[in-house]
Symmetry: C2
Subunit: 186 residues, 2 copies
Amino acid sequence: MDERCGEVSPESFVRVVRTRSAVRSYTDAPIDSRVLEELLDAMLSAPTGSNAQAWSFVVVRGTSALRRLRAFSPGLVGKPRAVVVACVDGSRLDMASQDGAPDLCVTMAVNTLLLSAHAYGLGACPVTSFQPGLLRVLLDMPEDIKPVFMVPLGYPAGDRPMSERRPRSEVISYEVFGRRAPATGA
Amino acid sequence: MDERCGEVSPESFVRVVRTRSAVRSYTDAPIDSRVLEELLDAMLSAPTGSNAQAWSFVVVRGTSALRRLRAFSPGLVGKPRAVVVACVDGSRLDMASQDGAPDLCVTMAVNTLLLSAHAYGLGACPVTSFQPGLLRVLLDMPEDIKPVFMVPLGYPAGDRPMSERRPRSEVISYEVFGRRAPATGA
């Protein structure tokens, strides 16, 4: 184990990772502001190509603001206690490398947020079904801010079934595409 | 803490998350096959829109295959002991929802792999600088498999400086874009 990982065993870290599932139903329990700030800090440590950090996030917690977001976002179901809107910041893009995959960096930040929220017992899910134009108006975003994901957050209500996954052998190949077993002795 | 998270405190989970950095220099130490398989299982638990799992991964460990990958991939520096090539599987796309952001699902899987590798003391980084056409030939991939990332893996050699990040107040807004402090009492 990496000495920088403190007391967490890799196995237990991966166990947290593997028990995450999409949560779309939330209790009324509020989210402590300090917890939310921890999650945001974790999110901002995500990989970003050429360290461009061409991203911007709006955290919505106000009751009427959340109601408005839900009214305009078909993908936002349940009643989350907070929503993080994750955006590409186009004004930073001339500083980015030619790789320029700012959507992918925002996506890694969102995944880091989802995993960290799960570690804190919070439920969340990535939502892409919304109208970016309307969202931009509701949240007073300038033109060069492009929303990519909404992430609703709240304490999970009810069961959280894990989604079924394709058999591993269908999606992992070894050495060349389609070879379904690792080379022996590798 | 979520009871499903076992013995990991949320704080220690987030500490692992926040100490990850891009690693591009590796020792000769081999990666245990069981560790690699754990990492792949963790990766496959990543979020995927509409549970489409329109993804495919090729794990390259052979010495000469790794040498060929490095020769054709400017972004692949250092001498990793394994490379995971993360792809969109276009043949699954008619099953996906109209959101159809398969690149973003693959990106979440890659981020999950990066974090899990870090928990195991491995170094990794996401690489997008390569020629997909050449990669497809080298790894015998059909046309509908679209490589998005290469992820080199190996035990870190030397220091791993954390990249500097923009001030939090530049990238996080509260309630509306540009408001730099949470509402009091929120």
